[in-house]
Symmetry: C2
Subunit: 443 residues, 2 copies
Amino acid sequence: MPTAQPRQLKLNAYLSGSGVQGDSWRHPGVDVDAWHNFERYRDIALTLERGKFHSLFFYDNVYADIDALAYHTISPRWDPLVLLPALAAITRHIGLIGTASTTYNEPYNIARRFASLDHLSGGRAGWNVVTSTGGGENFNLDAHADHAQRYRRAHEFYQVVTGLWDSWADDAVVADKASGLWVDPAKVRPLAHQGEFFRVRGPLNAARPPQGYPVIAQAGASAAGQQLAARIGELLFTAETELEHARGYYAEVKGQAAALGRNPDHIAILPGVSPIVGRSQAEAEDKYAELLRHRDRDATLKALAAYASLGVHLAGLPPDAPVPLPQHIAETNSHKSRQRLILDYIRQHRPTVAQLYARFTIGGHRILVGTPQTIADDFEHWFRSAAADGFTIMFPSAPAGVGDFVDLVVPELQRRGLFRSDYSGRTLRENLGLPRVPNRHFE
Amino acid sequence: MPTAQPRQLKLNAYLSGSGVQGDSWRHPGVDVDAWHNFERYRDIALTLERGKFHSLFFYDNVYADIDALAYHTISPRWDPLVLLPALAAITRHIGLIGTASTTYNEPYNIARRFASLDHLSGGRAGWNVVTSTGGGENFNLDAHADHAQRYRRAHEFYQVVTGLWDSWADDAVVADKASGLWVDPAKVRPLAHQGEFFRVRGPLNAARPPQGYPVIAQAGASAAGQQLAARIGELLFTAETELEHARGYYAEVKGQAAALGRNPDHIAILPGVSPIVGRSQAEAEDKYAELLRHRDRDATLKALAAYASLGVHLAGLPPDAPVPLPQHIAETNSHKSRQRLILDYIRQHRPTVAQLYARFTIGGHRILVGTPQTIADDFEHWFRSAAADGFTIMFPSAPAGVGDFVDLVVPELQRRGLFRSDYSGRTLRENLGLPRVPNRHFE
């Protein structure tokens, strides 16, 4: 559907399943009861909807690292597919994107769950397809499944799930009291899938989702992840931090998608960014300093070293010591791209421990400390430079960080015409400018 | 916790995942859009909460029978674990019980999902444990898993799920900003389960449910099902239709549970019953006649013959022909108890096709056609005869059947002191008089 409207930014909100946004949970302004108090999420979702966000997004994993529990707020966490239906019931416009692992689920269950969520929300569901960063020990395996195998399985999993969504025509349910026809059996067909990982006969026990398919989100940035994104991704939550690198990634993925016959405009690339907003630059700097003050330095450095498999006890070094150049990097079986990002930074910038610590706060995504104007300037620059179609906002705290962004930055983006003033469509696809997916079997 | 209050009825509402209650979907008063319109469920849930129902309950299955789609409203259906979180967000008191298969899920995922639902609802979650009536063809199998194996797996599945719930002490999350301790690692422990079907290390990636464990529902009535119920069931949705038989079942299951060291008062036996209520008997009879008039006779008989594996084309026989005595009954791998019920009825009553049709409307559960007084009489009789602790109400239609029951029968039960006038507790366990489950590892 061609449109005469100017291209505008897309905004996706990254929310934590533990309720803690960012790493500064000890900050006085941070609510730490959202791990069991749904009201916190209700408030945040309504604020985001007031800010006309396209979607909110929950990452997920399927294990708890017992060694990190003491300091790492990643556990305990909610099942995103329990939070999202609840949020669907109390919101009307915002898209609802949940992570579900292709490694540790069965496709029939995932197809049904997202179909139901899409019906429940009137076409606002999205599925973030991940192969997971671990969890095999909870699913009958000795260890996390192998990287290459995970991605082969993800491709087949997607094939099965979308095949199941297509097993019902959009108009299969007739429910005609006069004729007595409930479902037209000619408009439902089995899948009869047989592949390397799955045998699934179908049909699905759920009607076709209102959007055809829920929006497919993807974050994978390793070579295999990027390949998957180019093939199936529609909303890409990436971790690019350097403009030139982001431009390269943007062109590459859209090119790859085009080579596969896809329309590159039907992929929204939304790098993660963490804005710390003040009414003046000084106020923003103060907020940032206070966030940093409330971080646990040792815990962060420990997590960072583990994340990148540096093999160095960073927390034991003085702040002004240079980070040792990594020698023998252990090949990681997960988050390969994040490891690369950290290693590249160390190699290029030769930072001190303190510099590395400051840089890789909030998971390694970009941090923007500024006024609504400077943050909008940055967004606009990336947007106009073909480095991003919008951003995934990683709020440094909740609820304050969410409110700051919605009340200060969103109006500035709107004033510039960079962001819409209201929802234009009913479904998430419509709001993102993505086409409804036709059924492979039925007109 | 001993209580001085008189024993009162417990009421559980059976809701269909397709939105159609009963078999008379062609009735003019029946909403047939609830398969995609959540508002229908919202209204029903709020009505049930006005009626002080203890819980609402969604059955589920994981396949769609393509041959039955034309007339059988069992498909398409919602994923109950998508509906329940949405209902949790808009209700405050009613218990929320969802079916999840132990045959076609992984225990880690189920443990998390129900833990999240229990947190979301403030302790109102229940898990209906089923081994499923089919679906293997959608989960990499040639056919439905074998009955005995399914039940062995169910026992182990329950062991793993509850072990995961117990992997966090109730007070494991500290979230103390002053000390910087997020979770006390001494209060979280792995499970390290190794069994016939599962290897699960744990711990769970979710805090312990507010109820300790969500309430465990069970319907299994085959020998293996009854054994599982006696061991783990707390709310039993049974299909007893004859008072004497129900008394026998009641005594037997509670006896079996007591022999296993359980308190028999901590099992609520709630047989299914379908009440058709009129302000007068004549009005009730009229409503029933109209429901029957809107049934699809051939479809019902076809489903009935298939359900009991009769091997007879019942729909091809005249209404006054006697149902042939079944000779070689095919052993069914699922719903064994329902098959037995139908066969027993045929053997004892030698019904005509018309009589069988009338008797086994609405899935074979009891049908009560009467006034609020006669229905309350019946409930009271079963309740005082130690045949039931309450009932699972299978509404013949929605929303009308739900409203009829809440507005007419509930006040009569309350007037007699048989039913409470308001919720007494906060959690489903409290409302059902069930104790909170202590943690096997932590005080």
